[in-house]
Homo-oligomer: 279 residues x 2
């Protein structure tokens, strides 16, 4: 195929796994690692390092290789303006970049996609070359999603959909028709650690395992950037918080190693469920 | 006046301050302390102790004293069913009580008000005899509410109003058109501690003081029960989280000692603002 796709790589293991998946499908990959964010493992592939503000260089490198498709993959820390070492390409776009730094993450990421598409590039989602990285539909492990939790799942889905207008969190813990914790800037792992604390200090009282984590992309979220993700630490966090399981939007949440996560959930007795997303 | 009001007392100092305020207005007070929740200080007033499930006894004691007005005041921990030592009055109402324990706090409290009013009692808010316990309108300390935060305040008010359908939190931290933290079961103090952590660990990066706490009752909340409250620990928590101030819904948030809190905010350089509530 030799189709060539450029991966703009944030942090974590997803860029590597995505690059491998693309290669397995016969795609030629070119990785652009965001300096200070992406891991050194990207050097196993054809790559360059760029600063977050070096859009000019990113465009030049992408165009000089004749690449037409670009995929954003990996975690993005929100950059501080002082950290953006702007090159000329970036400097010409300072007003646009300033706009990106205000408001929530969605706003910023939509802006980045626009900038790339205005240059004639096609921004694609990871599903276009590595669909196995996304949550599947239905029960991914041995445990079935408990039917007594259907109402709570509906509540959490509706809650997250309503919250998405505010561009803050993408995860909640729900139990007995009650929202126990809402994720905002702290991230899912910190939220799960908080729920473990709430159980320990008695602010949330329940017997045995109770409640579950629900994670989904924002309503109307562009699935080409910054998808929510879960990994082994999510399952481990849910176990420590004495939850009953984890439910994610099928096709809308990244999973580094779907089978591995399902096996981990089985080992600790949690369900791992991919629900039909309404968006 | 000798008008007689019964205070059903939860935890914290509010019941005591409210009882004193009522006495100053010439009202005869009768306190019913919730066992395991209310503080021993209620014994300074005419009082009895009751279990959360002892509705029968509460009604008997209230009626035998010819009291017609009841006020709920103080923090309520969500009771576990096993903790409710039901008496006969309570036992007859088990189905109603079971209903109260499901769903969010609003649901439970509306049910409790209904139970009392069905007995011919009038449930009143603390504003009817101690209006100084509620947040005032405008700047309560020396610092003016910064005009550059008006947009963030609107965002937070709208966010909290939308969230109220879910009956979870009543407070957020907002900064630069972004929701930094959302309160659910952990409470405001724990949320502020989390924000301090987010600043310390760099997940929320800002220079100097940034953002502020916004706290309001739920949209359509019955102001006769379980009003949100702030106290010295709220101001101290906001200071530690490097916030710029605290904004509360005027007339909708309890303040134990308004002048004391304003003086504390002045000392640490925070604004303390009562905003016009849209509800």
């Amino acid at each position: 195929m030799n189709a060539r796709v450029a991966l703009i790589c944030g942090g974590g293991a997803f860029p590597i796994v995505a690059a491998r998946a693309a290669q397995r499908r016969g795609e030629e990959v070119f990785l652009l690692g965001l300096r200070g964010i992406a891991g050194a493992e990207i050097e196993r592939f054809p790559h360059i390092w760029i600063g977050v503000g070096q859009l000019g260089r990113a465009f030049d490198e992408i165009f000089s290789r004749g690449v037409k498709r670009v995929c954003f993959i990996g975690g993005l820390k929100r950059p501080e303006f002082a950290d953006l070492r702007l090159d000329w390409g970036g400097a010409r776009r300072i007003p646009e970049i300033l706009k990106l730094l205000r408001g929530g993450d969605d706003h910023a990421l939509k802006g980045v996609i626009e900038l790339f598409e205005r240059q004639g590039l096609t921004v694609v989602g990871v599903d276009s070359f590595a669909p196995d990285l996304l949550a599947a539909r239905g029960d991914m492990g041995r445990q079935k999603f408990p039917s007594d939790l259907a109402e709570d799942l509906d509540l959490a889905k509706k809650f997250l959909a309503d919250l998405s207008a505010y561009d803050c969190g993408q995860a909640v813990v729900v139990s007995g028709r009650r929202i126990i914790a809402v994720e905002a800037a702290e991230g899912t792992d910190a939220m799960l650690a908080r729920v473990a604390e709430l159980r320990a200090n008695g602010r949330w009282r329940a017997k045995g395992r109770a409640g579950f984590l629900v994670k989904a992309p924002k309503r109307g979220q562009d699935l080409r950037v910054d998808l929510p993700a879960i990994g082994p630490e999510t399952i481990a966090g849910a176990e420590k918080a004495l939850l009953r399981g984890v439910a994610v939007a099928a096709g809308g949440v990244l999973m580094l190693d779907r089978e591995g996560l399902a096996a981990q959930a089985d080992r600790v007795g949690l369900f791992l469920h991919g629900f039909e997303s309404s968006t």
